[in-house]
């Protein structure tokens, strides 16, 4: 036995009963080769996602949310990255799949809404053509059929006067409009799984709510499963059936949304909750109420990575990594040596 025990992540959140699993992630680890040495941006993440289920992934800036969604999407650049573990989408393994194999899945099985609508659209291509492209290349629609469908998609995502917007360049649209276009592109191939990576970062508050409500509405209407990534617990409270809290690339608590809100056991989850603003603040702001900063992933402390900032840390926390353990509620797990008492949540 080594001094630091292997993290046991085999016990995973159970899929929603009776629903067949759409996405199954097991012990997923993504390591970048950096000049400062290997950087484990995602470390042993496991979860299942049922059909038409919405999973919230929550964590501070730098906790590995974007890397996790891109790893699941199979979209990371292939050099200087090592991915281990397994991602199965409808039983098809994505880890290690070739770019050619992934091309068959992108748009039609899995699609992504990117974090920043200011940079994710091609600035020199009319937005209509950026939607058409999916329809024509991936679905084989004719030019006219694609155009008609693009206009439908533009109205579906709530863009007024679609025919005019169709011809616009991204620079002529507001941030909220651009993100709607990005969503239209993601929906064009009718994917079963939508990965939404902080879809409202950089948008102002009223627009944030509009975009999130739009996503809510569309996922229900189009029978999609969604992984909704955010740094704001307020965003996932009403929109998800389950939450996964990430810290420094690891899952530190996960479970049914109501349960995590009411009965969280991990001090980091509580800290997140306590400083979760009613209206979310500017993108990438550090959560002011949590003292200290997230650790440098290239030089993680031994033991619990939250220990340097944790009010409950004991000597053991600095030595051994806590494994995920089940609570009495099915599917609710946390990783902490000194968990908060059950039913100790401050507010739902």
């Amino acid at each position: 036995m080594s001094a630091t025990p292997e993290r046991t992540t085999s016990a995973t959140t159970a899929p929603v009963a009776s629903e067949p699993v759409l996405l199954s992630v097991r012990d997923l680890t993504t390591t970048f080769a950096t000049n400062a040495g290997p950087l484990r941006a995602v470390d042993g993440v496991s979860f299942d996602l049922g059909r038409e289920e919405v999973l919230g992934v929550v964590g501070e800036s730098g906790s590995g949310k974007t890397v996790l969604s891109r790893t699941i999407m199979g979209l990371l650049a292939r050099s200087r990255v090592t991915v281990s573990g397994s991602v199965r989408l409808d039983g098809v393994e994505i880890v290690g799949a070739s770019e050619n194999a992934m091309r068959q899945l992108w748009s039609t099985r899995v699609a992504m809404v990117f974090q920043d609508p200011m940079t994710s659209l091609n600035p020199v291509m009319r937005v209509g053509h950026q939607i058409d492209e999916v329809l024509r290349v991936r679905l084989g629609l004719s030019r006219t059929a694609a155009r008609a469908r693009s206009l439908e998609l533009l109205s579906l995502v709530g863009i007024p006067s679609p025919a005019e917007r169709y011809r616009a360049y991204p620079g002529q649209l507001s941030g909220g409009m651009r993100q709607r276009v990005v969503i239209a592109i993601a929906l064009a191939g009718a994917p079963a799984l939508l990965l939404a990576d902080e879809p409202t970062t950089g948008l102002d508050v009223t627009i944030q709510a509009q975009i999130l409500n739009l996503l809510d509405d569309l996922t229900a209407r189009l029978h999609m499963s969604v992984v909704l990534v955010t740094h704001d617990l307020g965003v996932v409270a009403t929109r998800t059936s389950r939450i996964m809290v990430m810290y420094a690339g690891r899952v530190v608590e996960s479970g049914p949304t109501a349960d995590v809100f009411a009965d969280h056991r991990m001090p980091y989850t509580r800290a997140l909750l306590e400083c979760s603003p009613r209206v979310s603040n500017a993108p990438h702001t550090r959560l002011a109420a949590i003292p200290g900063r997230p650790p440098n992933l290239a030089a993680l402390p031994a033991g619990c990575s939250f220990a340097p900032r944790c009010a409950y840390a004991t000597e053991r926390c600095h030595r051994e990594v806590p494994a995920l353990v089940e609570t009495t509620t099915p599917g609710h797990q946390y990783a902490c040596w000194n968990p908060l008492p059950a039913r100790g949540g401050p507010r739902p």
């Binding site: 091309r103 992504m112 920043d116 002529q172 592109i185």
Partner: protein
């Protein structure tokens, strides 16, 4: 847009004035003089003075310039003292050769530079990229007059390909195949320098563009790598390329002169060098004027193309 065009036209006028004044002054500094060319060295000073008066060369340089400019503004480039033919008709015969030469060289340069830059940018610092970069750097270090001499040695003399040697120019109207043959070596020579330039500029811009988030987004649509390169990456990476091409094509006129002269291709370069040698002032002035206007117009054209290609620029 209108302001832009007006500003550009004013620049054009300014450049033409500066260049024509400069060349007017410089050519009168040259040792030769037209009276000697026409009358020979042994003629009497009196005859010379008379000829000077007839040609208007006895006036001050400023007066000569004003008279010349006045004629130019009336569309008259004058008649050569030496050959007694109109400068405009001489230029009209020579200019199309340069245009054809440059067009051919640019087609060649772009046809190789664009796909190879894409290939290189796909894996920066990969084997192919390093080979191409090193190769292009080597090409850059060989001057055109060496390239053309080597090409003539190998292609026309060793391999004996028809119409490729010196003094074998055939006009487009006579026989287009022979015309292409006779321009192939100079076009290739001019293309080399342009190719290296375009390859390097486009490669580095493509590498930068491929890091952009919208490229990852395009990948996530499941479209082919080729489509990402041609439809998504090329256009936003072409701004510097077009700017470079605009400037480079102007420079090619000068580069072309050497090659034309070496192969005795009767384009503007060849004509200009002969005109300087025979102190044919009006012809030199005419060619310099046409070339400088041409260079500015080409620049103008490429700037305009940049505006078309990148809507981010034209909105500003």
């Amino acid at each position: 847009m209108l302001r832009y065009v007006v500003r550009r036209l004013l620049t054009l006028v300014g450049i033409v004035i500066v260049i024509s004044v400069g060349s007017f002054y410089l050519i009168h500094l040259l040792p030769g003089n037209p009276a000697t060319v026409i009358l020979g060295t042994g003629d009497s000073p009196a005859n010379r003075a008379l000829l000077y008066k007839q040609l208007g060369l006895n006036r001050s340089l400023v007066a000569q310039y004003v008279i010349w400019m006045g004629n130019v503004l009336h569309g008259n480039l004058g008649v050569s003292f030496i050959s007694q033919t109109s400068v405009a008709s001489t230029i009209r015969a020579a200019l199309p050769i340069d245009v054809e030469l440059i067009v051919l060289s640019q087609i060649l340069a772009f046809a190789f530079a664009v796909p190879l830059a894409m290939r290189s940018a796909r894996h920066p610092d990969g084997l192919v990229d390093r080979l191409l970069s090193a190769g292009s750097f080597t090409l850059l270090s060989i001057p055109p007059f060496i390239v053309i001499v080597l090409l003539v040695l190998v292609v026309s003399i060793k391999l004996g390909v028809a119409n490729t040697g010196p003094s074998s120019y055939v006009s487009l109207a006579t026989d287009w195949v022979a015309n292409l043959e006779s321009l192939s070596l100079p076009a290739f020579t001019l293309a080399l320098g342009s190719f290296v330039l375009y390859f390097r500029v486009l490669r580095s811009d493509l590498i930068a563009t491929l890091q952009e988030e919208f490229i990852t987004m395009a990948r996530s649509k499941g479209i082919s790598h080729r489509r990402i390169m041609w439809r998504h990456a090329l256009r936003p990476s072409s701004v510097a390329l077009l700017g470079t091409a605009g400037v480079n094509i102007g420079g090619l006129l000068a580069g072309g002169f050497v090659v034309e002269y070496l192969l005795a291709i009767p384009g503007l370069g060849y004509t200009l060098i002969s005109a300087i040698a025979s102190s044919d002032y009006l012809l030199v002035q005419g060619i310099v004027l046409v070339v400088s206007v041409g260079v500015v117009l080409v620049n103008f054209l490429f700037d305009f193309a940049i505006n078309l290609i990148d809507p981010r620029i034209s909105r500003e």
